[in-house]
Symmetry: C2
Subunit: 796 residues, 2 copies
């Protein structure tokens, strides 16, 4: 592999080349040093076993390539005065990014203990993958990073998210050829159809083909070059190929490639911004093909290592016990000539630092990678303008997400100039009834448009693609660089990003412990088109388990809200859009839903997170109620209120309390979640000893898992979704899952001591209603008229 393409008219002087190579060698040295060395960082004495770490951890294979990219980005940033950020997809190469950050000084500025001298280098080496030190991948601890390098697949979507509404920013994105095999990355290539050359910055993908994964060649590295070229052109890019294993030749080619790519980006941005040309842009992509573990041991124990999968992690193992390997390691490290790279005090030599840009232009210092430094409070208008009037509960109906859409339209309008708020969704913004936002902005779209299209807009800030992965990745990148947003998604299919949200929660959890990372806007989900209203789509679209999923994760970060009507949704939205460093999951319906609370009542109720709805119950205040009917979620709330009304009519002596829960984490113990109720509060709401019939939106056992420590847990009986569904009517769905009003009344009768006999006729009446439902729906395909016409307060 010695061919070098696009070795354009040399742009580097020999001095520049020497300096770039020095920086690269220094970074390579520091990366290898982090993996191996516990002491003797500058090799002032021959390597001895005790200088070697007891556990050799880290990924060498990708590091030299990353170092090359960092070095060359330094050059162009400095030369062109760029505002740049880099997303390091092969973030397993943590030692590389840490090394570069140390060289440029940002590591020491961020972690003052790790000074830019010999003692600091010793600390740098020791801390890497060492207990109490730093993780092995690029992580929140790494200056300049917005992208955890553990799970692969999200780099390119993160890069696009960072570039949106950052017109002067260049976002470079190194994509590993392993990562490139993942679905999310494969989908992200088409993000360029959504990047506005006027208001957004540029994304420069650098596809790094080092040929191997852990144990296999990569798919893309084994495509014939014309085929790979066709693929990238098909993705809408202009490929620039850099291939080689001779450092000097690759330096020259990489410098030329970057210059060519950046020239082209500059031309295209100018064309769009100054000349108003509205053609879709074919952005450059650099294909960098260099050996895995480049400059590392060529062979170990007779097996080829450099340029193979054997270089993936630690190319030389057992160094403490194997004198040959120890010698080989020493020769490898000395091959970088550290004595030329570092002064006597261990500080990097001037040559090494020649390419490093200054101040916040350094990749480790860009404020865009510490978005909390840039984030501004979102202008959120007064909710009263959007609230639905509620004189009495349950008399009118609204579609909650449509009401929210009006609020979001105003937020969109008020951020027209700031451009720091976006809505993302998989082709569902209108389906989820948020279409009012199109009054303020359109849907981002750079490809061809036809007259029949609606709301497409080259400069729009609603982003729709049928890929939940892209939506999530874009939004994460956007938030991490200091902006705001909302992800509106069908409830069932948000599971597609389960693994992505795990990583984002981990990122936030770790970031919160780093004082230098300023808080960023929360990641807000609006989950709608939910389990109970899949009339159209049926069983495959029914899954309320995302709430369970996120509630397993760090409680410092996770919040879950189930507003039961339009005004409570407004109140919750107001709260989550103002919040920082959380993942907020809001589950709300798009179908017409009774209005229960006025705006003022909604504010108070949401602030409490859970409360008694006195007007719905039949307590007289003199004693504990006979039974508590609890609910969380819009459909369960409706069924509980209908049940409360049936009880009022059929069993008027029964003292019923109705409790509604908006904030699910209120149910958790106080010492497990910051929102958790004390036992005193919990008992005050649910009683310590009365039967509680809890109608919950999702899987019923979640309530048990949140409340199992409470005194009254034994009296808790939960109804919810139990995977019984098909294409059917809304009421049939609740009947199938035993969440319907009639069943809830039966539950009350079965659980309240002494009612079984006395209320047997009432129970039979409920059974009869359920039977009548079955017959009706089979005959007519619709719900019972008494159910369709039901409203609170009628027929009581």
């Amino acid at each position: 592999m010695s061919k070098v393409e696009h070795q354009d008219a040399t742009v580097l002087t020999d001095d520049e080349l020497r300096a770039l190579d020095a920086h690269w060698r220094a970074a390579n040295y520091l990366a290898a040093g982090q993996i191996y060395l516990l002491a003797n960082p500058l090799l002032r004495e021959p390597l001895r076993p005790e200088h070697i770490k007891p556990r050799l951890l880290g990924h060498w294979g990708t590091s030299p390539g990353l170092n090359l990219v960092y070095t060359h980005l330094n050059r162009v940033i400095g030369k062109r005065g760029l505002d740049a950020l880099c997303v390091w997809g092969p973030g397993h190469g943590g030692p590389s990014i840490v090394a570069n950050s140390w060289l440029e000084g940002t590591y020491t500025e961020t972690w003052p203990d790790v000074t830019r001298d010999e003692p600091g280098m010793a600390k740098l080496f020791r801390q890497f993958s060492f207990p109490g030190g730093i993780p092995s991948h690029v992580a929140p601890e790494t200056p300049g990073s917005i992208h955890e390098g553990g799970e692969l697949g999200y780099s390119l979507a993160h890069a696009y998210g960072a570039a949106l509404d950052n017109p002067s920013l260049l976002v470079a994105c190194v994509i590993g050829d392993g990562e490139a095999e993942t679905g999310p990355l494969a989908a992200s290539w088409h993000s360029n159809k959504f990047l506005d050359p006027v208001h957004d910055g540029a994304v420069l993908p650098i596809l790094h083909l080092n040929g191997y994964k852990i144990a296999n060649p990569t798919v893309l590295s084994r495509l014939p070059e014309p085929e790979l070229d066709a693929l990238l052109r098909g993705y809408g890019h202009e490929p620039i190929h850099v291939t080689g294993d001779d450092p000097a030749a690759v330096h020259r080619a990489m410098a030329a490639a970057l210059d060519r790519a950046l020239d082209r980006i500059a031309v295209m941005q100018r064309t769009a911004r100054e000349d108003g040309v509205a053609e879709r842009v074919h952005w450059p992509v650099i294909v960098l093909r260099t050996p895995k573990g480049w400059t590392g041991p060529a062979e170990v124990d007779g097996d080829p290592v450099e340029g193979t999968w054997r270089a993936h992690q630690v190319p030389l193992a057992g160094v403490r016990d194997n004198p040959d390997h120890l010698r080989q390691l020493e020769a490898w490290l000395r091959s970088y000539r550290p004595e030329e790279l570092f002064g006597d005090d261990g500080r990097p030599a001037a040559d090494v630092l020649a390419c490093v840009p200054a101040g916040t232009r350094r990749l480790g210092a860009t404020p865009h990678a510490n978005g909390g430094l840039l984030v501004r409070d979102l202008p959120i208008p007064s909710l009263d303008r959007f609230a639905v009037p509620v004189d009495k509960p349950g008399a009118t109906r609204h579609e909650p997400t449509r009401v929210l859409g009006d609020l979001l339209e105003q937020v969109m309008k008020d951020t027209t100039r700031r451009r720091d708020f976006r809505i993302v969704g998989p082709d569902e913004t209108a389906s989820n009834r948020l279409q009012a936002v199109y009054g303020a902005t359109g849907k981002a779209w750079q490809a061809k448009t036809l007259p029949v299209d609606e709301h497409l807009d080259r400069h729009g800030r609603v982003m729709e693609i049928l890929s939940e992965h892209c939506c999530q990745g874009w939004l994460e990148g956007y938030l991490l660089t200091g902006r705001h947003g909302l992800f509106s998604c069908y409830e069932a299919f948000v599971h597609i990003v389960d693994s992505m949200v795990n990583q984002h929660i981990k990122w936030l959890r770790t970031s919160r412990e780093l004082p230098w990372r300023a808080p960023i806007a929360s990641l807000n989900y609006l989950l709608t088109s939910h389990v109970w209203r899949q009339d159209h789509n049926g069983f495959s679209h029914q899954d309320p388990g995302f709430v369970d999923h996120v509630l397993n994760k760090s409680p410092e970060v996770v919040r879950v809200y189930l507003p039961p009507d339009a005004n409570t949704l407004l109140s919750v939205a107001d709260h989550v859009l103002r919040s920082r460093d959380y993942v907020n999951v809001v589950v709300a319906g798009k179908q017409p839903c009774f209005d229960w609370l006025s705006m003022d009542q909604a504010r108070v109720h949401c602030a409490r997170g859970a409360g008694i709805w006195e007007w719905a119950g039949t307590e007289d205040g003199t004693r504990e109620p006979d039974v508590v009917l609890a609910c969380a979620g819009d459909v369960p709330t409706q069924e509980v209120l209908a049940a409360a009304q049936l009880l009022r009519r059929h069993l008027p002596q029964l003292a019923v309390r109705v409790v509604n829960v908006v904030d699910m984490t209120r149910l958790m113990p106080r010492d497990e979640h910051p929102h958790g109720m004390t036992d005193f509060e919990f008992d005050g709401l649910f009683t310590p000893d009365r039967p509680v019939i809890f109608a919950y939106h999702g899987y019923p056992w979640l309530i048990h898992r949140l409340a199992y420590r409470r005194a009254g847990h034994r009296n808790l009986h939960v109804r919810g979704y139990k995977e019984s569904g098909t294409t059917t009517t809304p009421f049939d769905m609740v009947v199938r899952n035993d969440l319907d009003r009639y069943r809830l009344v039966m539950d009350v009768i079965d659980r309240v001591p002494g009612l079984a006999v006395k209320a047997a006729p009432v129970r039979q009446t409920m059974e009869d209603a359920r039977t009548r439902h079955q017959a009706w729906i089979r005959a007519y395909g619709t719900d019972l008229p008494e159910v369709e016409e039901w409203a609170w307060g009628t027929g009581a």
Copy 2:
């Protein structure tokens, strides 16, 4: 859009064309009829409101295109005598596939009530998306389907899975342009690098560009054709474009395209099979560009509908109440000239059926789509050959997955001729220590190979790609067509397929209720490289929540096993590989782990699913124990046994019972899971009233959610992973999460009545050990020697 490409030398006679068009029109009529009609199926009288369904549900937009493909597949299957299966990616078009199945007779054979005559047609129409009827998408209920049409993104991976090891099968796969935007689909295109032209069948992707999603144009449909062409060539395909909106022209072009594609496939298969040519094959892909909602209403209320996003679902709404729409619907339906298509009795006319192939060649009748008809028991050798010898517990160590690898090698060997067993994984088979299988087969790979590559094999049956989505999709397709397999995956990243496994569980749950669907082999996960042993990768690689995720789903289908050592892993593997219609999740370590049970003991223990390890406890059999130490998972088991030993030494009077749980669903109530213990069994194991300290592999609250109904639940204290992790040592991980032996002893002292004072010095000793650990690890980066050297029975 009237251009038609590749209108090759006409291959259709006028008669053939007329017959194909008749079939297509019939299918279109039947698809629309399902969406709209409750009665008057043959339009014998003018349409009246009461003939119309009260709720109009269904997706018309994609249906005419699907009908076109079905019609033309019929032609080539018949003409060429093909063995074919089709995966319908745009499965929202359920009415289409049902319509075609009814036409060819397989619907009636499967659902005898729905006869192929007028009364049957009336039932067919009424049942669609009607309560008590059939779902709106392609589903298990649909004859000939292996692919639920609800969630999008998995069609192409399913198609490849079906084609593997089915050399004479053609798997057509219609990919919608909406679905094509998803990550999983985008990744699946590269599956062609893994398809063996000798032993596998052919996959023919048909990319159906109808231009729109719910509310947006699709990305691929708006690419200039040369760009789309480059993309598909970059994916390794030879594109054949069919574009048009004139039915006759499109019929001719589609017939020519299919002939060309199938000719090419035949040539390439012959070249590989007979001439032994080992070049990677560039398979054809058909790009079919036709209008969305083709042949439906061109305009409704002045808005264009046909060919736009407005045709996505129900193009004419409110038909019952809007006389104009009713008239327009009638005109639309009559435009297909049903009187020509169906006889007086409602049976399809001879012309309509002319293209339909016979018997099991019909797409609705292929046994490949009902894999249980084809599945054979896997030859599983006697476990004794692979068992590790265990004379006494905890004296030796093995890597459980490596031991399993030996067993899997034998299964691979014994299926060499049958070729009905595959292992899939994201580049981790060797990393997960299953590399023994390479003694029997290699890794599937059709691209270029280099001398340094290992185990790559054009005919291999291990499949590695860095895409969990592809792994899952391939395996699902393979299992659904009657074969066996195993998915080995890093535990944390199996969350990537959360949403896919949801759909597969739903599929199995529904299939089990359909007597005509024969049971298929279970989907088996081996989750390893688990949360406790991420020394290398740290926090980003730690997530044990997949177990929680699947346990939310249908209990009829889900099984979860945590074998604590090598022999129990063998026993569990034996069980899951023989099982049918389950999703089995097996969590097991790859690191050296103590051997606790002999093979015979392991068999008995696994059959019980949970049991007392008498040898580990200190009960004397005369009374209830003072405390129960329970464990599930390999690392928790080790810590519990170390704790038991500490208790034996420090508190010899304490009667300790040790319980190990392998089958997590045993903890559930009997009426919630078929494996659930009765309360009598549960109390017998865990006691109704003694403290239970439960060391669990994953999130601790899972145990509470499984056991909250048990008498002894209040005495249950669970330790597990609580999201505290980084790159550190194995023992430091358990200390960070309070799962370590010292903490467990402290828990015992804190929970057993009367011990607090008496055992205070022991408690302090434990505290001291934890403090010593902290100091040691900070100094040396390794675990305490007493922990590293610990083994059962030493120092007692």
